[in-house]
Symmetry: C2
Subunit: 332 residues, 2 copies
């Protein structure tokens, strides 16, 4: 049974997930896993994953068979498990709870070698619809407070399977990063009575130097204080705290700007490993005036990731104004 544990000094939660590896020697092996070979996410291998919880595109009625264009399955090696009641417990100075949650894999395409960045728009939009469908469904479970949606691309960014996929983790607690954003947004709102993200968007549009691209609904910027070279944020221009409030035109516009942003990044640094994370309001939250949903895209340029990880202090050799200019000027 996995366990959620809280650092008593920082209030940071971590998951102890013993399903995933155990002895010191496991790490030596894991660092050099080979490419190629059998892929559990390819069509024809549906029976090697847990039964699907969602699929799009299949014309025949039988689940877990080929013919799908997108498929969501529980992770075979989940960080958290879905069965059981939440059970919170203290141990002296420490707090923990059992690791109830969901961990799902969203297979973005049936083609093993197709990258997310180059999915055609009518296929990429399915990925965002699936995010929404899973958010709505998992949000019905009162044990969960947040669904973290993210993608790891490339081994340096933590991807253990080549076949293009995103992941969803439903959590009984709020992740520290979201708590910090909610807190920061709230203290700004109390002072200014405006959303800090809306103010950022206004200033970015006015100054222009950190804008990568935009359309009617969205803007992509390189943030003023980026942790990583070529970090990008995609924000809706109209205030909204939750991703699931997006309308159909919004989904099309999101697909357009996400696709363009990723292709610009890939042209600048071909095949760069990256993570993206959806930042949204907690599940079942009322609309919040002080929080603004968005995507954060972080290229993983390993040479930069030294002590920052341990200290919370980042050194970035590329000013975001330079990165935005490279991203804007690259030929698509």
């Amino acid at each position: 049974m996995p366990e959620l544990r809280k650092d008593p000094i920082l209030g940071r939660w971590i998951i102890i997930s013993t399903e995933r590896g155990k002895r010191p020697t496991d790490f030596i092996v894991e660092q050099s896993t080979s490419k190629g070979g059998f892929c559990p996410l390819c069509p024809g291998n549906e029976n090697t994953t847990p039964p699907e919880v969602l699929s799009y595109g299949r014309s025949n009625p039988t689940p877990n068979t080929p013919g799908w264009t997108l498929r969501v399955v529980p992770n075979k090696y989940p960080a958290l498990i879905i069965e059981g009641d939440l059970d919170k417990e203290g141990d002296g100075i420490y707090d923990k709870m059992n690791g109830i949650g969901a961990h799902e894999v969203l297979v973005e395409t049936p083609s093993h070698n197709e990258a997310f960045t180059y999915l055609p728009p009518d296929r990429m939009i399915q990925v965002f619809w699936a995010f929404r469908d899973r958010l709505v469904d998992l949000g019905r479970d009162p044990r969960f407070r947040y669904v973290m949606i993210f993608k790891n691309y490339g081994r340096p960014a933590g991807a253990s399977l080549e076949h293009s996929h995103a992941q969803l983790v439903a959590l009984p607690i709020l992740p520290r990063m979201i708590v910090s954003e909610l807190d920061g947004g709230l203290s700004y709102y109390r002072y200014k009575e405006r959303c800090i993200f809306c103010d950022i968007i206004r200033q970015e549009i006015k100054q222009g130097v950190r804008v990568v691209c935009e359309n009617d609904y969205f803007i992509t910027i390189t943030p003023f204080a980026p942790r990583s070279p070529f970090e990008m944020w995609i924000l809706p221009k109209r205030h909204a705290s939750s991703f699931i409030s997006l309308d159909e035109g919004g989904f099309r516009a999101l697909t357009e700007i996400f696709s363009e942003s990723m292709r610009r990044l890939d042209k600048c640094i071909p095949n760069v490993p990256y993570n993206f994370v959806l930042h949204g309001a907690p599940l079942r939250s009322q609309p919040l005036e002080h929080f603004h949903w968005h995507f954060e895209i972080m290229p993983k340029l390993t040479m930069m990731a030294g002590f920052e990880w341990g200290s919370g202090f980042y050194i970035n050799p590329v000013p975001p104004e330079d990165a935005a200019r490279f991203l804007r000027e690259v030929r698509l």
Copy 2:
């Protein structure tokens, strides 16, 4: 001129350091730097580094010549620069200041292939004395509020030079991680009137399951909520907020436990890349009842570093009780 910039939502500072790399293509090269070849940290090449600010062991009086056993030099490619006045500035919603600071390289040994972990005690202790000497010296500069002392070992942990070295970064601001620890420690102290780290040490000694090793002055534990498999903290048993308060017996005891802890780790996961970071009170701080200096040692097991980096949420496949048992039981 480097620049310090603050994320307006999270209050997180980052360094934009344009001395270190610039164009997108630089990253492709940097990811595959070759081993071997010329080493600027080896004896005989003293003139290829900036002039030393400290050295130990040289019998002749001429600086920047061979014969040293330990040497501290300014970083040739500094993240921050030492000359100039602090200049804080706003830009609409954003805050920045010029990148005043110091960035030094501490060469731990004249031998190119000698690892920190296996330095003999009389040589490893010099590393800790040098930390102290530089902390005292840099602490005299009123522009600096904190000196971050850390080590990257192995390329996956961010080391760009093979030759064993640590780094010091003097900062005009407090790093976020230290602010969070000070805040967390203070709110616990207000409630309990005890140091949270002292309470942790008491509970760890009582329970025993996360203790790696200890001596009269220090204890090494795997923390209750570790970010990384085999993460270790080395804490002084007697309350102290600043590293520089350590006495001579303390330096010997620190060397003994640090050496033992690192050798245990290396036996468990041979040649594992790691970072360690010294966490101490701000420069020129009064002794603090609510903060407790310590070292954090984080093995870098790359497969674990996926979305955690982007979300602040860590998944750890090894319970610290298991890690501590492996570390305790390994044969030295």
